[in-house]
Symmetry: C2
Subunit: 415 residues, 2 copies
C-alpha cells in the first residue's frame, strides 16, 4: 500500500500554504474539503482547559456533518479569550466562503505557540491560497500534512483498504504530536465556549482520518470512540493532556462500500483501530527525545480498569522510562509500578517478560543474563509484557523512553 | 535548637557499625534502643509489592509496643522470598538478644540493592557491634543516621521542643530518600507475609521519629497518620512508591510531659506535622538530580480530593518539572495540568502565582516580565500557588525539578 496517501479515499481534496505563522518555511495553513457533505465524528481533549478551536469544533461537529477542515500550525489559538473564539469562527467562515458551504460545516484546528492571538492577516491569506490549490494528488496530501506539524521530526501516515463484499473502501489518516502527549479524547456534544487557555509552546495531538465508505454519522460516532480508546488514548509520552487534542473521522460516501451490516461495521472498526494504532505508535516513536517505542502489554488483569491503571503506571514511571533509555532490564521498577497504582495486583501471580525473555515469574526472580536482555532492550521497539495471572482483562499502551534530550527540549525553552 | 540531635529525647540510645554491606565505607547497620518498652506507631508502604522487613514490621508494630529498631542499608532484603523473611526475623532476634527483649518488640528496616539475599554473616557482626556501642550522644545519633543512607547526598534531621504545662518534651526525626520517592504510607494491622519483591537499585524513604513524651499507643497511631499525610505522603520526586517505605514514631515516656488532653494532643500533632514536613522538604531538596525544591500550594479547590489530585498532577508533570529546571515561567503547563487530572477545575475562576507574581487570573493571562519571573524561579525554593476559586479545600505538596542528572542517575545503572 505504499502508493496510498491521505487523499486516496475518493471524494476529498486538500491544499496547503505557507502563510508565515511558523518561522520555519514549511506550510502552516491547510484546507481539506469533501466534495459533498461528509458524515463526521470528532473526539476532543477532555482537559478542562481547552482551546478556542476545540470550543468551536465541538459545536460544528455535533450534527455529524462536515464539509471540510481548516487548520493552522505555529499558533494554537489558545489563551486568547473572546478574540480567540472570533478568530476560530472567522477561519471557518473564510474556508466556508471558498468551499461554498456554511461556516458550521467546517471544523477548525490549531497547534503551536499559545498565549498569542492568531496573526489573522496571514491566516486569511493562507486560507485563500490553500483553498485555491486544492487537489487529491500525493503532493496535495503532503501539502496539507505539513501544515499540521510543529516539533514533529517526521510525517505520520497510515492507511488500509477493506473489501466489503465486492466493494473496496479506503481508509487513510495522518497525525501530529511529539510532546505534551497524554491524550484523553472523548466524543462530545456542543458545549459552551471555552474561556482562556494556557500559554507556552506545546505539542497537541491532531489526527485526521478519511474514508470513502458510506456510513451514517451515528455509526461513525460509535466506531470512533473505541478505536480512539485503543490507540490515541493509549499513547503517552509525558502523560500531559493537551488543550487542543483532536481526532476527526470524515466519511465522504464516494465509494460504493456501505457500512450497513454488523459484519461490515466490525471489519471497518478493526481496520480503523489498526490504522489509529499505527498512528499512535508513530507518535510514541517521534516523542520528544525518544530513542525507542516501548509497548506495554498488560494481560489477565482483574478488571479493565485494573489493566488500564497498571499499564499507565508502568508507562508513566520516570524510573521505568529511564531504565528503558539505558537498556536496563530493571524489572523491579516495572513490578513495583504495577503494585503502586491502586489496581488489584498480586506479585505472586504475576509473570513479566522483557522482549520475550521471562525475568520474573509468580513472585520469584527468574535467572537471566543481564547483558543479553540489555542487548535486546537496545531495539527500536521494545515489548514489556506483564501477565497479572488474575483475571481476563488486558490493555496495550505505547510510550517511549525518557532521555536527557527530553529535558533539554522542555527545560531550555523560555516563554 | 542547633544543639538537638536524634537522641536528644530522653530514654533512647543508638549505635552504628560498618559491616561491609555498602561498598562505600560508611555505617550500614544501626540499632536503636528504648530503655523501656516504647509506645509506637508505624506507617508502611501501600505498594502491593512490599519487602520482607515490611511484612515483619507490620506484625511487630501491630501491638503499639517496641523496644527498638534494627536497620541496614546497602541491601533492601526485597525479592528474597522465604529466606528474606527468615533474615528479617533473624535481624530482630539478634537485636532482641542484645537488648534482652522479645524479637517481636524489634522493628526491622532495610534499604539498598534489591533482588539479593542479605549477607547475613556481615549483618550479624554489624548488629552485635552496633549494639555494643549504644549511647545517646550526637556522635551516636550520626552513627545511627549514616546507617540508613544510600544515594542520599546529605543527612536529614529535624527537631522540636514543646511545652506542655510546665513540662518540656522533645521530638526529633531523621529520614532518608533521594529517588523512587512517591510515598503512600498507611498505618496497618499485621498482614500475611509479603512474597517476593522487585530487584534493582532503589531509594526507599525511611523516617524514624523519637519523642520522650508519655503517650498511649492508640493516641500515637491517631497522630501519626495525619502528620504523615501532610508530609511524607505529600512529597514526590518521581511518584514511584517504593517497596520499603516506612515511617516510625517511638515514644519513650521518659519525660514528664503527658499527651493526655485534647489541647496537648493538638500541640503535639502540630509539632509532629511540622517536623515531618521539614523532613519531607529535605527529601525533595535531595531528590536525584534536583537543583531546587518546588512547593505546590493548591487552595480553594472544590473538595479535598480535588486539591490532592490537582497538586499531584502539577507536581508529577514532566513538562512542569522541566520548566522549573529551566526557570521557565511556563504557566500554561501548570494550568493545563490542573485541568487534565479529573478534578473539578474551571480556569475562569483560577489564579496562579509563581514566586508571588501573578501570571494568570480568572482565565486571563496577566502581563508580566518573563525575565524577572525567570530570575525569581532560579531560587533554591520555588512556590507555585494555584487558587482554584472554587471551594475551601487546600493541599501542599513538595517536589523538585527534573534535570538531565536524574536521567543520568536512573538510565546509566545496570542491574
Amino acid at each position: 500500500m505504499s502508493e496510498l496517501h491521505l487523499l486516496s479515499p475518493k471524494g476529498f481534496r486538500a491544499g496547503g500554504a505557507y502563510a508565515g505563522i511558523k518561522t520555519r518555511k514549511v506550510n502552516d495553513v491547510g484546507v481539506l474539503a469533501c466534495d459533498t457533505l461528509a458524515t463526521a465524528a470528532a473526539a476532543f481533549t477532555t482537559n478542562k482547559v481547552f482551546a478556542a478551536p476545540i470550543a468551536v469544533g465541538r459545536q460544528h461537529a455535533a450534527d455529524g456533518k462536515l464539509r471540510g477542515l481548516v487548520i493552522n500550525s505555529g499558533n494554537a489559538n489558545a489563551c486568547t479569550g473572546k478574540r480567540g473564539l472570533q478568530d476560530a469562527n472567522e477561519m471557518c467562515a473564510l474556508a466556508a466562503a471558498q468551499l461554498k458551504c456554511k461556516p458550521a460545516d467546517i471544523l477548525p484546528g490549531s497547534t503551536g505557540i499559545i498565549g498569542h492571538h492568531l496573526p489573522m492577516a496571514k491566516v486569511r491569506r493562507g486560507i485563500v491560497e490553500a483553498s485555491q490549490n486544492l487537489g487529491n494528488s500525493s503532493e496535495h496530501s503532503i501539502a496539507f500534512n505539513d501544515a499540521i506539524l510543529t516539533t514533529d521530526t517526521r510525517r505520520k501516515f497510515a492507511a488500509a483498504r477493506l473489501k466489503l463484499g465486492k466493494q473496496t473502501i479506503t481508509l487513510t489518516g495522518i497525525c501530529k504530536g511529539a510532546g505534551m502527549i497524554g491524550p484523553r479524547l472523548a466524543l462530545a456534544q456542543a458545549r459552551r465556549s471555552g474561556g482562556v487557555k494556557p500559554q507556552g509552546r506545546h505539542a497537541t495531538m491532531l489526527a485526521y482520518i478519511l474514508t470513502d465508505a458510506q456510513v451514517s454519522a451515528p455509526a461513525l460516532r460509535k466506531l470512533l470512540q473505541p478505536a480512539v480508546n485503543k490507540s490515541f488514548n493509549s499513547v503517552t509520552i509525558d502523560d500531559h493532556t493537551s488543550t487542543n487534542d483532536t481526532a476527526v473521522l470524515l466519511a465522504s460516501g464516494a465509494s460504493s462500500g456501505k457500512i450497513n451490516t454488523i459484519a461490515a461495521a466490525k471489519a471497518f472498526l478493526e481496520a480503523l483501530t489498526e490504522l489509529c494504532q499505527s498512528l499512535a505508535q508513530q507518535i510514541a516513536a517521534d516523542g520528544e527525545g525518544a530513542t525507542k517505542v516501548v509497548r506495554i502489554d498488560v494481560t489477565r488483569a482483574k478488571t479493565d480498569r485494573d489493566a488500564d491503571l497498571i499499564s499507565r503506571s508502568i508507562a508513566n514511571s520516570p524510573l521505568v522510562k529511564c531504565a528503558m533509555h539505558g537498556n536496563d532490564p530493571n524489572w523491579g521498577r516495572i513490578v513495583s509500578a504495577a503494585g503502586m497504582c491502586g489496581a488489584s495486583f498480586d506479585p505472586d501471580r504475576a509473570t513479566l517478560t522483557l522482549q520475550g525473555v521471562e525475568v520474573f515469574r509468580r513472585g520469584q526472580p527468574v535467572p537471566f543474563d543481564p547483558a543479553t536482555v540489555s542487548e535486546l532492550l537496545a531495539a527500536k521497539e521494545v515489548v514489556v509484557k506483564l501477565d497479572c495471572g488474575h483475571g481476563k482483562s488486558s490493555h496495550t499502551l505505547w510510550t517511549c523512553d525518557l532521555s536527557k534530550e527530553y529535558v533539554t527540549i522542555n527545560a531550555d525553552y523560555h516563554t
